[in-house]
Structure formats: C-alpha cells, structure tokens
C-alpha cells in the first residue's frame, strides 16, 4: 500500500511502579486510508496499552517511553497536550470493549454524542443535537429522536455499542481504534455490530485498528493482521497469507484449534489455550519471549532475541526458525 495515514515506529510504553512493566516493547505498524488492520494476541499481550498509547491516553504511572506515532506525518508522541486534545475524538477516535460501562450513566445519549461535535466542530447546542440524532439514524437505531433523549440504562448493550460507534464516527476521523468492540456482546449482536462497522467504514473511508481475541472476526473484517505477544509484534501479514501460512510458532498455536475460514465456526471462537502463560512483563527472559512455551525452541532462542524480519512480500515474523 502506498499512502500510510498512520505509522507507528518503535513504540515503547512502560509502567514505572515498584517494578518497570514493559507492556509495549518496540512496535512497528502502519495503516493505509480505509484499511482495517487486525491486532490479535492473548490477554496481557499489550493490545489495549498500545491502543491507549496511540491516543496518548496511558495514565500515570504509565507512559510512552520512546518511539514515534506519525499521523499524516505529524508525530503524536511529541505533540503538546493541547494539540493532542484537538486530535482525540476528532482525527482518531476510540471504541471500547464494554458498551455497558462506556457511556456516562447520568448524561443523555444524544448529549454524549453532541459533546464531540460541539468540542471539535464548534456546533451550537441545537445543531449538535440534530447532528447526534442524524448519527443515531446512521448507525441504524430506530426512533433516534426519542433515543437521543434517553439515558444509557434505557438502551440494550447492542444499542449502546451503536451509540459508541456513532460517537466515534461523529467527526469523521481518519482512524478508528476499536478495542474488542464486540467481545462483550451476544453472538448474534456481535455479527450485527461487526457488519455495521464494516458498512460504516466503507461509507466513510475511515481506517480501523481492530483489536480482538477472535481470529474469526479478523478473518471477516481485516485486510492485514499483526499478532502480538508480550508487548511485541511477532508476526505481521496480509490476512489470507497469515491464515494460509503462519510462520511464528505462536501464531501456529493460535490457529491450531481454529477451523478454516470457509468452514462453519464452532460456538467458541476465542483464542485456544497454548500451554504455559505469557511471561511477566517486568522480568522477561533473555532471548525470545516465547521460548518457554515454544514447541520448536532451540539454543539460540534462549541467548538472543530475534528481530521482526521480512520474509516475503508483506509477511514478516520474529522467530529464529525463519532466519
């Protein structure tokens, strides 16, 4: 792809408490306009921290340690806070995992959407509310005039996630960061929300960073995938390429019990368990972070850390087996 709208270069995000937790350790990513990049990885692999770092929202004692986040060539990591605020919710928006708790319980749904365009577009109260109703209609909520006046507790989980999507797309952002947007929903609702997101994306041309546990979701929506393990990208490839020929033993492990994309999926599509656990991020071993769980581990893996290396067109992996 030619024009990247977002490039992440060597991003590190640490939490400096009693120990230093290296949640994100040198991530490189890029996203083209209108594209969906999937991020998969087990719990604790640093997906959410990376997403928050891209919006500069990691709260103390955490913070971006080094690296660049280039949005249209502008490095967000170095931007003054006031300039960064003008970008949040405007050029980059975020959709969170828990629709039940992501909306403020004491503010009307319409006002919560309106707030974004009042802030970034300078709309009047009236204009902003009309706009919010329009957005609710776009995310296919029935009777949007009435819903806009309701409070979050009057809406179902699926509807609330639609509201979150409306809120995220309000300013027509260049990039949407969706952190497990369907994980908390029923399976049938999941499919509806996912379809809505894909449709909205096609309509607006927004790029999307889609974080998920669910390889099925990635297969359906993403063009490219980054597999994360212990704060790093261990494999990075086009979606078909990755499913056809996973290079990293971790990716292979993730896919082992997942059926082919064209076969009907079983009930649970969550990542299958790989024996062992993610190493503690404040005391990583020397060498490869996956060494203790890897079925193909050999001497070199315990001595030095492999780099993310390009193997063929657009397919890279971080593994000594493919050196």
């Amino acid at each position: 792809m030619g024009e990247w709208i977002l490039q992440v270069k060597n991003l590190h995000t640490y939490f400096r408490g009693a120990t230093v937790v290296k949640a994100v350790r040198g991530i490189d990513l890029e996203i083209a306009a209108g594209e969906t990049l999937g991020i998969v990885g087990e719990s604790g692999s640093g997906k959410s921290v990376m997403a928050q770092a891209m919006m500069r929202l990691v709260q103390s004692p955490g913070g971006i340690e080094k690296g660049e986040i280039l949005l249209d060539g502008e490095d967000l990591a170095k931007l003054p806070e006031a300039r960064m605020r003008a970008i949040r919710g405007n050029k980059i928006a975020m959709i969170f995992q828990e629709p039940m708790t992501s909306l403020n319980p004491v503010i009307r749904v319409g006002d919560q959407i309106a707030e974004v365009v009042r802030l970034h577009r300078g709309y009047s109260k009236r204009q902003a509310l009309d706009f919010a109703i329009e957005m609710l209609r776009k995310v296919r909520i029935a009777d949007p005039e009435r819903r806009a006046r309701e409070y979050p507790h009057e809406l179902s989980g699926g509807m609330r996630q639609r509201v979150m999507i409306a809120m995220g797309l309000a300013c027509n952002p260049k990039l949407i960061v969706a952190d497990e947007p369907t994980t908390a929903l029923d399976v049938t609702i999941q499919a509806q929300i996912l379809k809505l997101m894909v449709d909205m994306q096609a309509e607006t041309g927004t790029a999307m960073l889609l974080i998920t546990h669910d390889l099925g979701v990635v297969a359906e929506t993403a063009q490219r995938v980054a597999v994360m393990y212990a704060g790093q990208v261990v494999e990075y490839a086009g979606v078909e390429e990755l499913f056809a020929d996973p290079l990293h033993p971790y990716t292979q492990g993730l896919m082992a019990s997942v059926p082919q994309i064209d076969q009907p999926r079983p009930e649970s599509r969550m990542l299958p368990a790989i024996p062992g656990a993610v190493p503690s991020l404040d005391a990583l071993p020397v060498g490869c972070a996956f060494q203790d769980r890897c079925p193909h581990v050999f001497d070199k893996c315990r001595v030095s850390e492999p780099l993310l290396k390009l193997h063929r067109d657009g397919h890279s992996a971080r593994c000594w087996l493919h050196d």
Binding site: M55, L57, S60, R85, A86, I87, R88, G89, N90, A93, M94, F96, E98, T101, S102, L103, N104, P105, V106, I107, E115, V116, L119, H120, Y151, H153, E154, M164, M167
Partner: protein
C-alpha cells in the same frame, strides 16, 4: 417518571413520617407523670370543680384518640403550643431564632461542601501523592477534634489572644449598626462559629469525595470522555464529578441530624442566638412545651432536609427516577 411526580411521591412518603413524630412526642408526654392541669394549679391543690372545668377547657376529658387526633391536627396547622416560661407561642419563639441558625448552618454547609469536594477531588486525582497524604492528615485531624473543644480553642486563640474576631453573639449591640454595616458586623461574628463547624464537616465530605472519585476516575466512561478530546477539567467536572457526588449527597442527607446536633453545640459555645441556644436554654428552664415544639420542628427540618437530598439525587442520577 417526571421529576414533579417523583417529588410528589416523596412528599407523600414524608407526611406519615412527620405524623409519626408528632404521635411519638404525644405518647411520650402522656407517659410522663402528671398533666398540664397539675402544672397550672401547682402544689396547693384546687377545688375538684375547677379542676374538672380546666380539664374540659383543655380537652383532657376526651378519649385519648380524640386528644391525639386534635393534637396532630393542631401541630399540622402550625400551632406548636404555648411556652409558659416565655409566655409566648412556641412557634413564634422558634421562628424568631430560625434565621440565625439557618444563616450559620447554610454558610457552613456550603463552605464545607465546596472545600470538602475540592480537596477530595485533589486527593483522588493522585492517590498516594504527598498532596493526597497532606490532605488526608488534615481531614483526619479535623474529624477527630470535638467541635466544642475546637470552638473553645478558636475563641482562645483567634479571639481572646489575637483579638481578630468577636467570640460571642451575632451582633455588636453597643455599636448598634444598621444597613450594610450590620451585614458586615454579622459576617464578622460568623467567622469563628462557621470555621469551627466547617472544619468539622469538611473532613467527612473530603473523605467521601476522595473515595468515590477514585472509583469513578477508573470507570470506562471517564476513559471515553478523555478519548473524546475533552480537557482534564471538563472530564473531571462534567463526567466524573456528577457521578462521584452521588454517594456524597446521600451521606450529607443522612448526616443532617448530626449537623443539627453540631449546631446546638456550636451555638452554645459561641452564644449564638439561634435554635440550638434556644433548646439549650429550654432544657435549663424546663420549658416542656418549647422542648416539644423544638422536637417536632427539628423532625420537620430533618424530613425536609431528606426531601431536598432525594430531589437532588434524582436530579443528578436519572436511574433513580425510574426505579
């Protein structure tokens, strides 16, 4: 449910409470030995015919339930009886002193809420920081000090030794100020009692605000608010505080009784001519009608206070209005 309907329902709940309080005081007085006629004729005794006439005049020859019914009606129309000690209607005595007490109570309540919430938010923003620790020590200290001792220490230091503030009463009678000068004079007299009561109540409000704000600041909707690009101030006030204040409002409502108790103590220490002082004096002179009136009046005050709390809560939290 509309707010008006909600309020009507609450008033409907409050009325039996008030009637209950009136019945209770009636029963208590009936249980005490002797009756008002004995009190009027004194030790000497009197002609049984006179006694019977007095009893009939006062309705004491009627069955108890008739007397109770009449008493409740009488009180509900605002007639709290007659003080023989002051030879004046009890309600007049109370209303005469009410403004002085309200002035003190409202000032200290407003001040302790403003300062307490502000300190609580400061604490909650960085729990465990040296600022938080300093505020915690301060509020624990003021919480532990009894108000009568604090009052006397203030009198001793700021009043007696330093001569900064008057230590007794509400106005300077000798100067006999009027108009604007009178207002300044009263404000000047208010400084010490208001300080004493504010310090006492502020601690509780600070601790509650801190605890509830720490919880609220960890909620998803606060992250969402930040991701919208709002300033930290807007996130705190518009999104976090409205939720964080809910438990604070509840507890202030519940603490209304001890607020009144604190007022009695403070007014006594500073010779403030309010209801607390009136109650204290009524105990000294065994002015039973006045004490009974005060009891019912304070019950009404607490019930009204709770009503205001409920209304405030419903205004802040839409979920309450529907349950």
């Amino acid at each position: 449910m509309s707010l008006g309907l909600f309020l009507l329902k609450r008033i409907a709940y409050a009325t039996p409470l008030l009637v209950g309080a009136i019945v209770l005081i009636f029963v208590l007085v009936r249980l005490a030995p002797g009756n008002p006629v004995d009190y009027i004729i004194g030790e000497m005794g009197a002609d049984p015919v006179v006694v019977a006439r007095l009893m009939a005049d006062m309705g004491l020859d009627q069955p108890v339930y008739v007397q109770l019914y009449r008493y409740v009606l009488q009180v509900l129309t605002g007639d709290l009886g007659h003080s023989f000690v002051s030879n004046a209607p009890v309600i007049d005595l109370i209303l005469d002193r009410l403004p002085a007490t309200l002035l003190l109570m409202v000032s200290q309540l407003v001040l302790s809420i403003l300062i307490g919430v502000w300190l609580g938010v400061l604490s909650a923003r960085k729990p465990g920081s040296s600022l938080d620790n300093a505020i915690t020590i301060f509020s624990l200290a003021t919480f532990a000090i009894p108000v009568f001792w604090l009052g006397q220490m203030l009198i001793l230091t700021a009043g007696y030794y330093l001569h900064w503030f008057p230590i007794q009463g509400m106005v300077n009678f000798r100067a006999g100020y009027t108009g604007w000068e009178h207002v300044v004079d009263v404000a000047y007299h208010m400084v010490l009692p208001v300080t004493a009561m504010t310090l006492l109540n502020l601690a509780l409000i600070q601790r509650l605000t801190r605890a509830s704000m720490i919880e609220v600041l960890g909620q998803d909707y606060v992250k969402v608010a930040r991701a919208k690009g709002l300033t930290e101030g807007a996130v705190l006030v518009r999104h976090a505080l409205r939720n964080g204040l809910l438990p604070v409002v509840t507890v202030i409502g519940l603490e209304f009784r001890s607020l009144i108790a604190g007022a009695v103590l403070t007014e006594t220490v500073f010779a403030w001519p309010g209801l607390g002082r009136l109650t204290f004096d009524a105990i000294g002179t065994r002015d039973y009608p006045l004490l009974m009136g005060m009891f019912i009046f304070m019950c009404a005050l607490v019930i009204i206070g709770n009503l205001i709390t409920d209304l405030l809560y419903a205004l802040l939290d839409p979920r309450i209005r529907y349950s």
